[in-house]
Symmetry: D2
Subunit: 307 residues, 4 copies
Amino acid sequence: MATRTDVGADADGYPAPSRGPLPTKDVGRLLLRCADRPGLVAAVSGFLAAAGANIVSLDQHATEPSGGTFMQRTIFHLPGLPAARDALERDFAEQVASRFDMDFRLSEAAKPKRVAIMASKEDHCLLDLLWRNRRGELDMTVSMVISNHADLADQVRPFGVPFIHVPATKETRAEAERRQLELLRGNVDLVVLARYMQVLTPDFLVNVGAPLINIHHSFLPAFIGAAPYRRAKERGVKLVGATAHYVTEELDDGPIIEQDVVRVDHRHTVEDLTRLGADVERVVLSRAVLWHCQDRIIRYGNQTVVF
Amino acid sequence: MATRTDVGADADGYPAPSRGPLPTKDVGRLLLRCADRPGLVAAVSGFLAAAGANIVSLDQHATEPSGGTFMQRTIFHLPGLPAARDALERDFAEQVASRFDMDFRLSEAAKPKRVAIMASKEDHCLLDLLWRNRRGELDMTVSMVISNHADLADQVRPFGVPFIHVPATKETRAEAERRQLELLRGNVDLVVLARYMQVLTPDFLVNVGAPLINIHHSFLPAFIGAAPYRRAKERGVKLVGATAHYVTEELDDGPIIEQDVVRVDHRHTVEDLTRLGADVERVVLSRAVLWHCQDRIIRYGNQTVVF
Amino acid sequence: MATRTDVGADADGYPAPSRGPLPTKDVGRLLLRCADRPGLVAAVSGFLAAAGANIVSLDQHATEPSGGTFMQRTIFHLPGLPAARDALERDFAEQVASRFDMDFRLSEAAKPKRVAIMASKEDHCLLDLLWRNRRGELDMTVSMVISNHADLADQVRPFGVPFIHVPATKETRAEAERRQLELLRGNVDLVVLARYMQVLTPDFLVNVGAPLINIHHSFLPAFIGAAPYRRAKERGVKLVGATAHYVTEELDDGPIIEQDVVRVDHRHTVEDLTRLGADVERVVLSRAVLWHCQDRIIRYGNQTVVF
Amino acid sequence: MATRTDVGADADGYPAPSRGPLPTKDVGRLLLRCADRPGLVAAVSGFLAAAGANIVSLDQHATEPSGGTFMQRTIFHLPGLPAARDALERDFAEQVASRFDMDFRLSEAAKPKRVAIMASKEDHCLLDLLWRNRRGELDMTVSMVISNHADLADQVRPFGVPFIHVPATKETRAEAERRQLELLRGNVDLVVLARYMQVLTPDFLVNVGAPLINIHHSFLPAFIGAAPYRRAKERGVKLVGATAHYVTEELDDGPIIEQDVVRVDHRHTVEDLTRLGADVERVVLSRAVLWHCQDRIIRYGNQTVVF
């Protein structure tokens, strides 16, 4: 008689926590966007076949049955990709992209994105990203954590990631952003705002040279401004949610990447709502970061397609 | 060899569709609300025990650890309740409610709520309520369907419910409301706005003499005004939802009863969003109506407690 | 002051209930499955481009990074498709499918699937399918409803669909199936078991000449056999679910198309679980039927890919 | 122009991460279970009122309308509870519990449960519990982590919790359990199996003197035995879930506390399913542990009531 499935020591089908990355050698990702017209899929797949690449996966989306925007994500396998990559990119630009007036991006799956995380005092989003990445779940390298407070330094250090304290208040914003830009510009492919509670200026967004992903709470109806969880409680909401989005100059209004909610009821206190909201935030943010790092997201207008 | 669980004809544990109502004979429901103070539960349960009633179920909620609002729903069984009811109500008022300055409501489970449904052209919420009620799921009697259009008459008739066409436009609102009030006042315990697309005036709300429940779509962020599904599509939302609430003079802003959402992605068209939104709307509205008819809801401030 | 968004009569962005079908003229759907190898996407898209077709949408999936099964769904627009269809199919078979040893299926979006629904006494799945189809949500024509009981005849008639009573018990199964096959064979593209509570024999499955979709309840853990909702209640489950699947000779064990669950707790009675389970069943079944009718599903092994 | 809601430094309504515990001084929790009969609520609330206690919250549940099992959880405030507690318990036993043949348990909210966590090599459940407890979310004191592997020692140490390595294999089970019992017996109020991959014997369960909570994956259908995620992938499941339950001698079959699921589709690899399953596991386990530590759970038969 046994109280657990007796399948031998640690052998229930779980991968070991330190499992290696998925096979990414010689795997390329081609993302593109252009005006829709006949022949796009054939042109791209023909180009890749001629180049000796095998298409592993292909997703495409057209915003309208005809005459809209066309987007495609193609994963391909090309032996010797690292050496062939620059020529492939140049050839694609000349032979396909210019012909269809395409925006495109070619990346190698074997090169994880370099990511900076900016945080303040809240630890839930930051630690979840660091922990998932240590497990090998996120396909990224965390280059640094930048915080306007020193509080989380001790929690970040065990992950072997540099923690950089850049004090920032409304008054010292200019100086803080100058310092942040020195750290970030050219060094990272993505900046994640993991509950970073300071305003970033349009100048910063222009100059940082990498996309930014932010996470914030979501309610129905919305509660803009201070103390949203308290006001959601006063309004008796039955759902608490979170939205991850790219940062644009529009206040919390950039292209949505992912959203989720959790049910609450009258027995939940403001503290409970905050705790449950934090649970949703860290899950939603980690999904958004993973999808970005896997080159799954194409932006158009104020929207995203997540393949 | 068989392709379905062979359990005999129609015997897989499903109740027959025409199953009778749950036992409600001699079952009473006591809802109350007052300022919180020690001794409330003891006073109410003592009163009921002295009256010969057995408490079947009791839920209570206090908005604060102390000094807040106290609400309680008590389901009890009292042999001979129909005859004893008026005396019980009077005694409770004198012996308990006046002492604690309580608002309270006593109802008999055996008396289903009399409900009017108001609709326009959309059928999904209306038909779902009628169908659920025919199955015996909603503990209500539908007294009438009032619509400002004649379109749905043929769909309502098979349910054996009166369909009353009261044309209403912005211009004829006063006359339409006069006619609606004649139909409703004193005749119903609840009015359900099942996608009724006309404004109701504050006067109507005051004079109708029954609470109103409304359903509307919900998005994160909110899209106020015309064409919300199209705008939600343009914004690339990942969730589409619905909110059922009591109607107050505040525009779509009364106490929330229930909310739910469904996931969507970039492949969903505006028509898909609308269809999925309708699915959520009918489920959320039917839950809200069921809970109201079971006397599960207590309002306070701009919130609800749903026991 | 108004209590509803005052956007004019019925003008809040909802489509009219009787909206026409999505544009499907000249739209074809090509589904294919074969062993994965380089050049598949290029070959198919090249063929379509040469035939003058514009790819509207393309989804593909490979079960392994290499060496697995490859599946693809391509939606294309080809002016004059109805006339060109047979030649297109023949050319594709000769020029592409034979070369790659493909299974494929070509269908026209403008030709809705002909569907038979089999039911017993439970109405929730049957009526939901009929109602959704009346709204134009399901891209199908319901050719007939076959039931082993007469109970639901009155509820089906208003939808203008033939209701055929074929009594069936364990003893009369052979005769009943003979009669059912006469009705179905060659006349329908899909059979939906909408809580049809009789066993179907392997002979029936072989001879009916159309795929069958079934819906059944799902629990964690599973409760096989009689009275599953009562036993789920006794086990204190916190989730109640439903699974829609293709019917195979394996008892309730065919390829899963869709699953969903709803939360329950100790306050829910067996009747509540049954009601909530029915809600999930009708939603899950309608999704599976819609996806099948849109040619979104490819089967392989005992699984499905739903594009 | 600003890209985040500018509400001042870190002032958006989030509590500081190091917020103190909820007020628990002089708060008691009384859980009871007995055969249902009239007068129970009155007897208990009358006793508490007479003792000078104010009922903060009361939940009760009867398994049948009459003649079933009655369960109640009462939260009360009694000034001077720590000193009065023993007398209160004795008086309740004599004056109420003995009269109704009640099982009951009286606890003080100010005394967090002493908890041992047992783990193996997987870190997700263990670290999530430690992290939530550091944030003050779980109302418990983690007395120790026991693991049959040394792998997680470095990850546990920063939380200031003793990590005790007790090697255990099928062969050394008796010796391992002897050592574990020395550590646990009398020292903890709860044992959490956070992906502990060793069998525990019935003797251990009897002698450990504290309830055990376990977490395991859940699928529809169930996949018993080795490699469940691989087999779920082969079956094409659309949901992956987890179940937290009390441990009994029945293999993975004790009273369910909480369940949840996450949607998956054909694009998810076995590794993705495992990762998403781990996400559900840690959330479901943490909810179960929280509810246990808040004395929200009453067991009866093979079920739980979670108030």
